[in-house]
C-alpha cells in the first residue's frame, strides 16, 4: 500500500515536470458586444491553475505552459469563450453577453434553480415595463407576455381582476385560477370584496416586483402538490444590493384613459321611428314622439369618462452592506375608470430587510402594507339600474336632467321610480332607471387593508446544508359600503338603503425546510425536504338599513337609528392545509439532469379518510450541446451554442373549498322564524381532482445566446374531476348538483417562444420577442346515468360536450328572415327549414325563405341545437419589439388571440330588443316590406323572445372572437448619464422620460365593443368598454 502511494507520487511528479517544462506568454484585449473594453474578465489556461484578470482597458497577460491548447475567458453575465491558442501569442476576444435565459435562475418552490439545469417548463416575465405602465395591478398586464399563459380582462373596470389561465382551463366545476405565491408563500388571492369587484393582487405595488416566474408543467409545480393543477405564479419582490450605497428611485406617471369604443345607438329620430313601428306591428298606439326641443341624448357619454385621470407616484430606497440589505418603497396611485363612478386609489408600502447575524444565521423580514379603495357602480348586466345596461336602453329623445325636479335629474321623484316621460307617452320599458342619476348618486365602495408579513430565519448547518423556517401572516380586510339613494333607482322601493360589510380573511403559513447541496466530481446533488402548514380563517359581519330618515344618512356609512328596517348578517369559516414535500435534483457534469419531487398534502375540506393525497413529479434533461461531438463541430457550437432537451411528468391536484364531503343544514328562516334546511348534499368519498401533466421541450441558444428559442409540447390529462354532477330538479337536491369525482378532460398544446437581438450596434439596437401558444381543450368523459354515459350537459348558451372543448356555444342555426312576412327562420336538427311565427311563438315547417305559408307545426328543442363555436381560444400570443437609438427607446407590443366565438348577448337583448328601449343601429335593417332580404326580422313590440330567442344562443348573434391588439407603444428618452452627473454634481444618477399608449388599436371582426369582454363561456353582455390609456412619466435615480 505504501509502495503504491510512493510510486503514484513519483509518477504524478514526473508528469507535472513534463508539463511544466516551458512557459509562454499570451496577451490580448477583451471587448464586449459593443466593442468596449471589458475589465475583470478571468482568463485561464485550460488544464492549469494559471489565470489572469483583464484590466480597465480590457488587457491581459498570462503565462501558460507551452502545450496548453486553449484559453478560457469567463465573466459574469457573459458566455464563456474558449479560444484555441495554436501558435498565437496575442488573442483578442469579443465576449457576448450571455442571454438571460441561460444565465438566470428560475424561482421554483422552496428555492431557486439555475436556468441551465432547470428541466421543467416556466416563463419568466420581464417586469421592467410594468414600472412604466399605468395599471392598477400587474395581473392586468400579463396578457401576451408568456407562452401558455392566457390572460383576459373582461371590461374596463379598474378593480376587476384579470382572468389568468395557464395551459388552458383545467377544471370544470373546481377552481381554475393559478396559485399565487409571493416571496415563497401562498398569497390570499381572488375577488374577495363584498360590494365591489376587488383585486387582491392590487395589494402588490407593480414597482416592487423583481421577478415573475410562471411555472407551467408538472415537474415545476409538483412541489405545490394539491394546488398546482392550474399552474403557479411565483412573484418575488425586490431586495437591496450589497454594494454599500443607497439607491433612491422616484417614478411618476400621469395617464388619461378613455373608452376603447362605445356602441352605435339610434339617435332620437331613428328611435321614434323604430319604437312606433314596433308598437304599430303589435297593434298598440304610438308612444314615442320627437322632442319639440330636439333632444338627442347620448346616454353613453353620460356614464363614460373621456380622459379619466390616473396618477401614480413611487419612491424607493434600497441598499445594503456585505451583511445586510434593505428595500423600502412607498407608492400612491389613483386611477379613475372610464365609468364615471369607477376608480381605484391605492397606498402601498413595502419594507424588505435581511441580514446575516453571523456565518450560521441569516434572518429577514418582508412586510407589505397596503390600502386600496375601490369605487364602483351597479354592474348588473340585466339589472334595471345596471350602469351599462340602462345607458344602452335609455331613450335618446329624453333629457337626462330636469331643473324642475328637485333632484335636478329627469326622474319622477317623488311620485314614481321612473324616468321623466319626455315627449313620449310611456317611460322606457322594464323600469330601467336614469343612469345619470344612479351612476352619479349611488355609492359602491370597498376600502381594503392588507398586511402581509413574512419572517424567515435561515441556518447554515453544515457545508451545503441550510435550514429555513418561514412564518407568514397575511390579513386581508374589506370594508364595503353601498348607499342607495331613496329618490331613484335601486334604493327607491326601500326608501333609501345603506349597507356595510366587513370581511376579514386571515392566513398563516409556516414553512420549514432543508436545502442540501453536494458535489462530488462531476456529480451535483440538490435536495430539498420540508413541511408546510397553512390555516385560513375568515369572518364577516354586515348590517343594513332601509327606509332612511334623511338622504343625508345615505352617503357614508350605516348610522345607528337612521333607518326603520335594520338587518344584520355574518359568517365564519376555517380551513387548513398540511403538507410534506421533498425534491431531489441530480446532474452529471451539467449535462444530464434528473429531478424527482413529491408532496403529500392534507386538506380540511375532505373527509378524514380521504383527505391526504400524494403528488409526485419527475423530469429529466440533456444538454446535448455539452457533448463532445457537439463541441467538435464549430458550426453547432456557434449556431446552436446551447441545446437542452427536457421531458417531465407529474401528478398534481386541484384544491377544494368548503366541506363538500358533508351534508349540511344551514339557516333557512321562514320570515322571522328561524329555520334550518339542507343546503348541501355531500359526498363522503370525494377526492382530489387529479391532473397528470406531461411536457416535452427543447431550449436552444443560438449564436451564443443572441437568439433564444424554446418549444414545449404539453398534455394535461385530468381525471377524477370534481364535477358538480347535475341532478334532476325533481330530486330536489340543493343547487341541483352533487360533487363527484367523475369525468375527464385534457388540455394539449404547443408553446413557442423566440427572442433575440436583430440589430446590435453602438447607437442602434433592435430586440424582439414573440410567444405563441396553440391550445386544444377536450372533455373526454362526463358522468353516467344508469350506466349510460352522458355526452352532453346543455346550459342556456353553452353546452359541455364530450369530445369538444369546455362550454362550446350551442344553439339554433339561424336561416335568416322570411322575405314574405319577416318571421325569423331556422334550420332544425336535421337541416329542415323552420319558420318561427312571431305572432304565436310556434314553429312551422317552411318550404322556402320566400314562402310565407305556415306548414305543419313543429318545435325546436335540445336536439335542434347545433355547435356554434368554441368559447375558448385555440391560439394566442404576443410579439414585442424594442428599438433603441442612442438615448431613445421604443417598445411596441402586439398580442393576439383567436379560434373562439363570442355570443353577443348585448346585441341580442339590448341592441335589437323589441321592447320600448333604445336600440343599436343594426335594427334599422329590420324587415318592413314583402320581398325585402335582410337578417333582422320584423319588429313587434314585446316579442323579444320570439324574435331574438333571448336566453338561448342562436347563430345570428354568434361572432368571431379573433383579434389583434396593439397593446403597448412606449417611447422613452434616457438622459445621458455622464452629462447628467456633470450637470447635477452627481446627485442625480439617472433620468428617464417616457410616454406610453395602452390598447392603442384593435383589429377584429367582432361587432361588439371588444371580443375580450366575453366571459370564459364566450358570453358578452353589457360590459364596460376596455380602457385606452395614454400616459407620461419620469424615472429619476439618486
Amino acid at each position: 500500500m505504501r509502495k503504491l502511494a510512493v510510486l503514484l507520487t513519483l509518477v504524478l511528479f514526473s508528469f507535472a515536470q513534463t508539463f511544466a517544462q516551458t512557459n509562454r506568454t499570451v496577451t490580448g484585449k477583451v471587448t464586449d458586444d459593443a466593442g468596449n473594453p471589458l475589465a475583470g474578465v478571468t482568463v485561464s489556461a485550460a488544464g492549469t491553475a494559471k489565470n489572469a484578470i483583464t484590466d480597465a482597458k480590457g488587457l491581459y497577460t498570462i503565462q501558460v505552459p507551452s502545450n496548453t491548447a486553449s484559453l478560457k475567458f469567463s465573466s459574469v453575465g457573459f458566455g464563456d469563450i474558449e479560444s484555441r491558442i495554436g501558435s498565437r501569442t496575442s488573442i483578442d476576444v469579443n465576449m457576448i453577453s450571455e442571454s438571460k435565459a441561460l444565465s438566470e435562475v428560475v424561482v421554483v418552490g422552496y428555492g431557486v434553480q439555475q436556468k441551465k439545469s432547470f428541466t421543467g417548463s416556466s416563463s419568466k416575465i420581464d417586469t421592467k415595463p410594468f414600472a412604466d405602465l399605468v395599471t392598477p395591478s400587474i395581473d392586468k398586464q400579463l396578457a401576451g407576455r408568456a407562452a401558455g399563459v392566457q390572460v383576459s380582462n373582461a371590461g374596463g373596470g379598474v378593480g376587476t381582476p384579470a382572468r389568468i389561465r395557464i395551459r388552458g382551463v383545467n377544471s370544470i366545476s373546481g377552481g381554475q385560477d393559478p396559485l399565487i405565491v409571493v416571496d415563497g408563500v401562498p398569497f390570499i388571492s381572488g375577488n374577495l370584496a363584498n360590494v365591489t369587484n376587488s383585486n387582491t393582487l392590487a395589494d402588490i405595488n407593480p414597482n416592487d416586483i423583481e421577478n415573475i416566474e410562471i411555472l407551467k408543467d408538472g415537474s415545476a409545480t409538483a412541489i405545490f402538490g394539491s394546488r398546482a393543477a392550474n399552474g403557479v405564479i411565483m412573484i418575488t419582490t425586490k431586495k437591496g444590493t450589497k454594494d454599500g450605497k443607497m439607491k433612491v428611485t422616484y417614478d411618476a406617471t400621469v395617464g388619461f384613459s378613455s373608452p376603447g369604443s362605445t356602441y352605435q345607438l339610434l339617435n332620437a329620430d331613428q328611435f321614434v321611428m323604430i319604437a312606433n313601428e314596433k308598437r304599430a306591428n303589435a297593434g298598440l298606439a304610438i308612444a314615442a314622439r320627437p322632442s319639440p326641443t330636439g333632444t338627442n341624448t347620448d346616454w353613453q357619454s353620460l356614464i363614460y369618462n373621456q380622459n379619466a385621470l390616473a396618477v401614480q407616484q413611487n419612491i424607493s430606497f434600497s441598499g445594503g452592506t456585505q451583511k445586510s440589505t434593505y428595500f423600502f418603497s412607498l407608492n400612491y396611485s389613483d386611477q379613475k375608470g372610464i365609468i364615471v363612478s369607477n376608480s381605484q386609489k391605492a397606498y402601498r408600502l413595502r419594507f424588505n430587510f435581511d441580514t446575516e447575524v453571523n456565518k450560521f444565521v441569516k434572518v429577514g423580514n418582508n412586510l407589505t402594507l397596503s390600502k386600496v379603495i375601490d369605487l364602483e357602480q351597479n354592474n348588473g348586466t340585466n339589472a334595471l339600474s345596471g350602469t351599462v345596461a340602462s345607458a344602452l336602453r335609455a331613450l335618446p329623445n329624453v333629457e337626462p336632467y330636469n331643473p324642475a325636479n328637485s333632484t335636478g335629474y329627469n326622474i319622477q321623484w317623488p311620485l314614481l321610480n321612473q324616468f321623466g316621460l319626455g315627449p313620449n307617452t310611456i317611460p322606457v320599458d322594464d323600469n330601467y332607471t336614469n343612469p345619470a342619476f344612479t351612476t352619479q348618486i349611488n355609492k359602491y365602495s370597498s376600502d381594503k387593508l392588507r398586511i402581509n408579513n413574512n419572517t424567515f430565519v435561515e441556518l447554515s448547518l453544515l457545508k451545503g446544508l441550510k435550514f429555513k423556517t418561514v412564518f407568514n401572516f397575511d390579513v386581508f380586510s374589506d370594508y364595503g359600503f353601498q348607499g342607495l339613494d331613496p329618490r331613484h333607482g335601486d334604493g327607491f322601493s326601500a326608501q333609501g338603503s345603506v349597507f356595510n360589510s366587513q370581511i376579514t380573511t386571515q392566513r398563516w403559513v409556516w414553512q420549514n425546510y432543508l436545502n442540501y447541496n453536494k458535489s462530488f466530481g462531476s456529480n451535483n446533488l440538490y435536495v430539498t425536504v420540508g413541511q408546510e402548514a397553512q390555516k385560513d380563517f375568515s369572518r364577516s359581519v354586515s348590517g343594513s338599513l332601509n327606509t332612511i330618515s334623511d338622504i343625508f344618512f345615505v352617503g357614508n356609512n350605516v348610522i345607528s337609528g337612521t333607518g326603520v328596517t335594520q338587518f344584520s348578517g355574518g359568517g365564519y369559516g376555517k380551513s387548513g392545509f398540511q403538507s410534506f414535500f421533498g425534491r431531489v435534483n441530480y446532474d452529471f457534469a451539467n449535462k444530464y439532469f434528473l429531478q424527482a419531487s413529491v408532496r403529500r398534502d392534507g386538506q380540511s375540506s375532505l373527509a378524514p379518510e380521504t383527505r391526504f393525497g400524494v403528488f409526485p413529479g419527475f423530469s429529466g434533461g440533456w444538454r446535448i450541446s455539452q457533448e463532445k461531438f457537439w463541441d467538435k463541430s464549430s458550426f453547432l457550437r456557434k449556431y446552436l451554442s446551447d441545446v437542452k432537451l427536457k421531458a417531465s411528468y407529474a401528478i398534481v391536484g386541484n384544491a377544494l373549498g368548503g366541506f363538500p364531503y358533508l351534508s349540511t343544514f344551514s339557516a333557512a328562516n321562514y320570515g322571522n322564524l328561524s329555520g334550518l334546511a339542507p343546503n348541501l348534499i355531500g359526498n363522503r368519498s370525494l377526492q382530489w381532482e387529479r391532473s397528470k401533466k406531461y411536457d416535452i421541450g427543447v431550449d436552444i441558444a443560438i449564436l451564443s445566446g443572441r437568439f433564444n428559442f424554446g418549444f414545449d409540447w404539453f398534455l394535461n390529462d385530468i381525471d377524477n374531476l370534481v364535477l358538480a354532477v347535475p341532478t334532476p330538479p325533481t330530486a330536489g337536491i340543493p343547487g341541483n348538483s352533487i360533487s363527484q369525482n367523475i369525468g375527464t378532460q385534457r388540455n394539449r398544446g404547443t408553446e413557442i417562444s423566440l427572442s433575440g437581438e436583430l440589430v446590435r450596434s453602438k447607437d442602434f439596437s433592435w430586440n424582439f420577442s414573440l410567444n405563441h401558444t396553440n391550445l386544444d381543450n377536450k372533455i373526454t368523459s362526463l358522468y353516467t346515468i344508469g350506466g349510460t354515459p352522458v355526452n352532453s350537459i346543455p346550459g342556456s348558451y353553452n353546452t359541455i360536450n364530450v369530445g369538444s372543448s369546455l362550454n362550446v356555444l350551442s344553439g339554433y342555426q339561424y336561416a335568416g328572415v322570411n322575405t314574405a312576412n319577416g318571421n325569423p327562420m331556422y334550420f332544425n336538427g336535421i337541416g329542415q327549414l323552420v319558420q318561427h311565427n312571431i305572432a304565436n311563438g310556434a314553429y312551422y315547417f317552411a318550404t322556402g325563405k320566400n314562402d310565407p305559408t305556415l306548414g305543419t307545426q313543429t318545435s325546436l328543442g335540445l336536439n335542434d341545437r347545433k355547435f356554434l363555436g368554441l368559447s375558448l381560444p385555440t391560439y394566442f400570443g404576443g410579439i414585442s419589439n424594442t428599438f433603441r437609438y442612442k438615448q431613445f427607446s421604443l417598445d411596441v407590443m402586439v398580442r393576439y388571440s383567436g379560434g373562439n366565438k363570442v355570443m353577443n348577448i348585448t346585441r341580442q337583448e339590448a341592441l335589437v330588443s323589441q321592447n320600448f328601449h333604445n336600440n343599436g343601429v343594426e335594427i334599422l335593417d329590420r324587415w318592413t316590406t314583402p320581398g325585402q332580404v335582410t337578417n333582422v326580422p320584423r319588429l313587434v313590440q314585446g316579442q323579444s323572445n320570439n324574435i331574438n330567442q333571448n336566453g338561448l344562443a342562436i347563430s345570428r348573434f354568434v361572432e368571431s372572437g379573433d383579434f389583434i391588439r396593439l397593446q403597448n407603444v412606449s417611447l422613452s428618452y434616457t438622459y445621458n448619464s455622464k452629462r447628467l452627473a456633470e450637470q447635477t454634481n452627481g446627485y442625480i444618477k439617472n433620468l428617464r422620460f417616457f410616454m406610453q399608449g395602452q390598447n392603442m388599436g384593435l383589429w377584429t371582426k367582432y361587432s361588439g365593443l371588444d371580443p375580450e369582454n366575453a366571459s370564459q363561456a364566450g358570453q358578452d353582455n353589457a360590459v364596460s368598454p376596455q380602457l385606452r390609456t395614454v400616459s407620461f412619466g419620469v424615472n429619476v435615480g439618486f
Binding site: 322601493s493 392545509f577 322564524l673 334550518l676 334546511a677 359526498n683 330538479p729 330536489g732 350537459i793 346543455p794
Partner: protein, 544 residues
C-alpha cells in the same frame, strides 16, 4: 462544530414539533351550517328543520332564488298572469302572459325547481321527524304533526306542479300514460335514491291525485286545529280545504262536498256573513272584503285566512318578486307591473258599488306612468310597498264557501240549489252595500248551469289578484258541463295596455291577444330542460 450540532438539533426538533402540532390544522368543520347528523337531535332543532321546509315553500334558493317561488309570491303572480283577468304591463310576466314558454324559460324552471326543492326538504325532514319521534326526542304526537305539516306542503307543491305542467284530471280522468308529474315521496340524499328516481317515468295524472289525497288524509288526521303562530302553519282546516279544492279538480263532487261539510255548518247566515263560524278552526268571513288583506293591518292573518305563507320585512320575494312591488300602484311605491284587466272590471255582474271595487282596488300609477294613459286599476290586496311583508294568501274561508257553493250546485243536477245560492251569497253579500236587495235567490238563475256559471264568475271577482284564476281555467278547460268550459287560455287585452279610459262598467274591451285553445301545446308549460336532460325517464310535453 458544536455550533453546527446545536443548530442541526434545533432545526430537526423544530421540524418534528411542527409536524406533530400541525395535525390540528386539518381538524376543521363548517361553522355556518350543521351537519345532517346533528340536526335531528333536539326538539328545538327539529322545529328549526320544520321551519326550513316552510321557508323552502316561501322562497326557494334555486332558480330565481329569493323571488317568492313557489308559494311566497309566484303562485299568485303566475296564476294571475296565465289568466285573462290581470294585465301584464312590462316585460316581467310577459312570457307567462303571452304563453311564449320554452324549456329554458326562467319562470318555468323556477316553479319546477323550487317546488321539488321544497318537496325534497319535506321528505328529508319527514325521515328526521320519524327518527326523533321514535327515539323520544319529541313526542310521537308532535312527530306526527310535523310530518303532517310536511305532507300538507308536499301535496300543495305537487298540485301546483300538476296545474302548470300537466293536463287536467278531467281530461280522460287523468289516465294518459306519462301525463302527470313525478310525485316525490321519499328523501333523495345520495346516489342510491338518485339512481332509483331516474328509473321512474312520469306517472299518470290520476296517480298524482291519488297520492295528494293520501297525503292530505294523513295531514287532516295529524294536524292540530290551531297553530300557535296562526295561519302561517298548516292546520286541520287547511288540509280539509285543500282536499276540497283538489276533489273539485278531480270532478269528485261528492267527496268534495264531504270535505266542505266538515268545515261549513249546516246553517249559514247569508245576510250576516260574518256570523257563520267554521266547524273547525274558528274561521269566518271578515266583515268587509278589505280586512283579510292589508286593510287595516290584515296581512292575510285574519280568521278568514286558513293558510297563508309568511312574508315579512326580513324575508320576502324582494323588489323582483314580492306582490306589493309587482302589483302595487307605482304612485304608492309599487312597481306597477301588473294591473286588473278591464275584462273583469267592466263586467256589469260585478256591481258598481261592490265594496271589492273600492276596498281591494284603486286607479293607480303603473310602469307606464301616472298620466291618464299610464293609469290602471291596481290591486290593494298587498300594501306593504316598502317592506314587502304581505303574507301570501293560499286558502281563505271565502274559497271554502264558494267551492262548496259550486259543489252543491253541480250535485243538484237539473235544479238550482238553494244551499249553493246561500253559500254564494255569503261571499257576495259581504261586499254588498245592500245585501238584502242585491243578493241572489234561486230564481236568479235559469238553471243549475247558470248557477255554476255565476259562482265561477264570483270566484274571478273574489280571488282577483290572488292567483286562483289559472287553476280555475285549468280545471274547467275540460269541464263535464261543456257550456262552462274555459276557452283554453282565454283571449286577453294586449300586453302593456293601460289607460284610465279603458275602465268602466260596460266600456267595450279590445281583446288584442288571441285565445290559445285547450288543444294547443302552449296550454301547459314545458318540462324544464334541466329535468329532461338529467333524467331520461322524464318525457317532455309535446311540441316543446
Amino acid at each position: 462544530m458544536r455550533f453546527n450540532n446545536f443548530f442541526t438539533a434545533t432545526a430537526i426538533s423544530a421540524l418534528v414539533l411542527v409536524a406533530s402540532s400541525c395535525q390540528k390544522v386539518l381538524d376543521e368543520g363548517p361553522y355556518n351550517a350543521f351537519t345532517d347528523e346533528s340536526v335531528f337531535t333536539t326538539p328545538e332543532r327539529a322545529l328549526l328543520a320544520l321551519n326550513g321546509v316552510y321557508d323552502a315553500g316561501q322562497s326557494g334558493s334555486t332558480t330565481l332564488a329569493g323571488r317568492g317561488y313557489p308559494f311566497g309570491a309566484a303562485t299568485v303572480e303566475q296564476g294571475d298572469n296565465r289568466g285573462e283577468d290581470m294585465v301584464n304591463l312590462a316585460a316581467f310576466y310577459q312570457i307567462t302572459y303571452q304563453g311564449t314558454y320554452n324549456p329554458n324559460t326562467a319562470n318555468n324552471q323556477a316553479m319546477w325547481d323550487n317546488n321539488y326543492n321544497m318537496i325534497n326538504k319535506a321528505n328529508i325532514a319527514i325521515d328526521g321527524f320519524r327518527k326523533v319521534g321514535s327515539s323520544g326526542v319529541i313526542s310521537p304526537t308532535l312527530a306526527l304533526q310535523y310530518e303532517a305539516e310536511c305532507r300538507f306542503l308536499r301535496a300543495l307543491g305537487h298540485h301546483e306542479l300538476l296545474v302548470h305542467y300537466a293536463r287536467p284530471f278531467l281530461d280522460g280522468n287523468g289516465t294518459a300514460a306519462e301525463g302527470g308529474v313525478p310525485y316525490r315521496d321519499y328523501a333523495v340524499t345520495g346516489s342510491a335514491t338518485l339512481d332509483k328516481l331516474k328509473t321512474e317515468p312520469r306517472p299518470t295524472v290520476a296517480a298524482g291525485y291519488a297520492k295528494l289525497i293520501t297525503d292530505l288524509n294523513f295531514a287532516e288526521t295529524n294536524l292540530p286545529i290551531t297553530q300557535p303562530l296562526g295561519v302561517v302553519r298548516a292546520t286541520r282546516a287547511a288540509a280539509i280545504a285543500l282536499k276540497q279544492r283538489i276533489y273539485m279538480h278531480m270532478g269528485q263532487w261528492t267527496l268534495a262536498k264531504a270535505e266542505g261539510d266538515k268545515l261549513i255548518p249546516a246553517t249559514v247566515t247569508p245576510l250576516t256573513p260574518n256570523s257563520t263560524v267554521a266547524l273547525i278552526g274558528g274561521h269566518r268571513l271578515m266583515a268587509t272584503p278589505g280586512e283579510p288583506f292589508g286593510i287595516p293591518g290584515g296581512n292575510s292573518v285574519t280568521a278568514e285566512n286558513i293558510f297563508s305563507v309568511k312574508n315579512d320585512a326580513l324575508d320576502n320575494g324582494s323588489v323582483n318578486g314580492a306582490m306589493a312591488q309587482m302589483y302595487g300602484s307605482a304612485d304608492l311605491g309599487g312597481r306597477g307591473l301588473v294591473s286588473v284587466s278591464p275584462i273583469i272590471w267592466n263586467r256589469a255582474e260585478w256591481l258598481a258599488n261592490d265594496l271589492r271595487r273600492t276596498q281591494n282596488n284603486r286607479l293607480g300609477g303603473t310602469a307606464n306612468g301616472t298620466s291618464a294613459a299610464g293609469l290602471a286599476i291596481m290591486t290593494t290586496k298587498y300594501t306593504d310597498y316598502i317592506n314587502r311583508g304581505d303574507n301570501c294568501p293560499i286558502i281563505r274561508f271565502a274559497e271554502v264557501l264558494l267551492n262548496q257553493a259550486e259543489i252543491e250546485a253541480r250535485l243538484t243536477v237539473g235544479t238550482v240549489s238553494q244551499r249553493a245560492v246561500d253559500l254564494l251569497n255569503m261571499v257576495r253579500n259581504r261586499s254588498s252595500v245592500a245585501p238584502a236587495a242585491t243578493q241572489f235567490t234561486v230564481t236568479s238563475f235559469a238553471n243549475d248551469v247558470a248557477e255554476v256559471g255565476a259562482i265561477l264568475l264570483e270566484r274571478r271577482i273574489e280571488f282577483l289578484s290572488e292567483g286562483r284564476r289559472w287553476p280555475d281555467i285549468h280545471r274547467t278547460a275540460m269541464d263535464p258541463i261543456v257550456a262552462l268550459r274555459a276557452a283554453g287560455i282565454p283571449a286577453k287585452v294586449n300586453n302593456g295596455t293601460t289607460g284610465s279610459a279603458l275602465y268602466g262598467i260596460g266600456v267595450p274591451v279590445t281583446l288584442g291577444q288571441a285565445a290559445i285553445p285547450y288543444s294547443d301545446f302552449r296550454f301547459i308549460w314545458p318540462i324544464p330542460n334541466g329535468e329532461v336532460t338529467q333524467n331520461p325517464a322524464i318525457k317532455q310535453n309535446p311540441f316543446y
